[in-house]
Symmetry: C2
Subunit: 326 residues, 2 copies
């Protein structure tokens, strides 16, 4: 069995030889740019980790699946960044900023197609139709999650359930799908495929709740981006929605007023909102819910029928993501 660093290095080598080299270069340069910006490569690592639970000696066979998932994820980043008008991604200019929106649309499109091309490189032809069906379902759900996220901007009645469903679709199903695809590709038993998929889905929701917490209450150095971004963008995260639920009428009114404060008073807005959330013990409630999802996730992982040492990598990865802070 390969450890996390070995898997990362196998993956990086594969990505380097898979650089888009076709013409016209105006189409493929942006794809190579975003793929080269790095990131945790969590999704392809999940594919590889699941695959080697069942076919440890042959983990390289899963590289086309792992790469497909990473290309797909990067396609969503390119298009989401246009929709969110985001200038920076991983500390560098976003594709539509460095080039333009049209380039970002079309390069994103070809990346989505390239993800399917990568899937088709997988040698297990017998499993391919099922792999593509899982990939289709996940890809569609990620779009549905992004649409829900955009709808929330103009919806004053977002519930916590709506929010949890949105992050499940936008983020968690792809983590579940990555593990599911790794397990299917390796020929795992149905029950193990299901438990790994559910592990990924629940841990994905936990990761997103953690991300919400860090965005407001994290240490900017460790978190790697400015604290308070969600507040500035008036994002209806779990933190805000929980505060609406727990606050008295005065607190809710103050929070709603803050959510409408123009962004010229950013620091003041972040400070006051954070204060209100702290007053209501929202960080505690978010941590409790996060841990509930993490525990649900672990209960599924426990039921996967392999030795503990083969699950260790997934525990390590979970630890690694959560330990970014706190």
């Amino acid at each position: 069995m390969q450890d996390l660093n070995t898997l990362k290095s196998i993956l990086e080598k594969y990505r380097e030889v898979s650089t888009f080299s076709r013409h016209p270069k105006e189409l493929y340069d942006p794809a190579n740019y975003i793929m080269g910006l790095g990131g945790k490569r969590m999704r392809p690592l999940l594919v590889l980790a699941a695959y080697q639970m069942f076919r440890a000696s042959q983990v390289k066979e899963a590289l086309p699946l792992a790469y497909a998932v990473e290309v797909f994820h990067n396609f969503t980043l390119v298009h989401d960044d246009i929709m969110d008008d985001a200038p920076i991604r991983r500390g560098q200019p976003t594709v539509h900023t460095k080039w333009d929106a049209n380039t970002a649309i079309l390069s994103g499109d070809v990346m989505l197609i390239a993800a399917y091309e990568s899937l088709m490189q997988f040698k297990g032809e017998a499993q391919l139709p099922r792999l593509i069906r899982v990939f289709n379902r996940v890809a569609r759900e990620v779009c549905e999650g992004q649409q829900m996220d955009m709808n929330f901007e103009n919806d004053s009645n977002v519930t916590i359930d709506n929010y949890l469903r949105m992050i499940e679709l936008k983020t968690a199903v792809l983590l579940g799908g990555s593990l599911e695809m790794g397990a299917i590709g390796a020929g795992a038993k149905e029950e193990d495929i299901m438990h790994l998929s559910e592990f990924g889905r629940f841990i994905g929701i936990a990761f997103q709740l953690q991300d919400d917490l860090l965005d407001t209450f994290g240490d900017s150095k460790k978190f790697g981006k400015k604290i308070g971004g969600d507040i500035v963008q008036n994002k209806k995260t779990f933190l805000i929605l929980k505060a609406y639920e727990l606050g008295d009428p005065d607190q809710v009114a103050r929070l709603k007023a803050l959510m409408q404060t123009p962004t010229t008073q950013e620091d003041e807005k972040i400070k006051k909102t954070t204060g209100l959330l702290t007053e209501l013990e929202i960080p505690h409630h978010a941590a409790v819910l996060r841990d509930e999802y993490r525990d649900k996730a672990f209960r599924h992982l426990e039921q996967v029928d392999t030795r503990d040492e083969e699950k260790q990598l997934l525990y390590d990865m979970t630890e690694w993501v959560f330990s970014r802070e706190k």
Copy 2:
């Protein structure tokens, strides 16, 4: 064997029951809108026509492939219309005009995924991997063609060969791919698959050259849109590039000056450009090249190993497209 009108009606019924009915509706309404705007449905009809050459009694089996190709084509229209800033499509507001660019990006994305989902509905599991590979190749080439088209806007050295390659990728490969997929799905022989694919590719180039001709020299009533659109948009079509080739230095200079005339003097610009192209007998040259491609296409169709009556539908469709005028 079903005739063209019967195939169209089978296809329309299938489209109606395939309406996107999932949530969130903000994501799927635009997809249903563009799919409902009509159009000639040429690509899915080509899939069905090719399929029934080899499995005449079972043409309905090919509907998931036909629908996939039509959904893909409509996805490209949604995204291309954003990139081209086009307000009208089939006489109605484009998706990004009726909704907004973000909606058009994301709905387009989910349509591309839906095209793959439709492919996966095809019952011939044995042929699926090959069908997906053909679809991937064609989809990627269509993006490459669109990028070349965008590059040409700022390129003063576009050659006729560049142009023909661009329309081949942007338009013709999808017609070839539609026939190819129909033939593969029906289990045709390799040679027949190849000849049908080549027929589609060459006839697609001929169609586009015809379209270029009609855009400048057509009858606006029969053509269904305003004459001179390409001239107003300074498009470097075959007509313009051929005029650069055949014109004397003075004519080329006049044409280049016209291509830089601001669009406030639209009618004047169309009239003068059309006059210059006529002076150089460009319509004749375009018709000759169009007919060369049409004849090449027919030579491939002749070599397909079926009875003439089974090819008749493809001759009819060709006739139908060309007879829109002239």
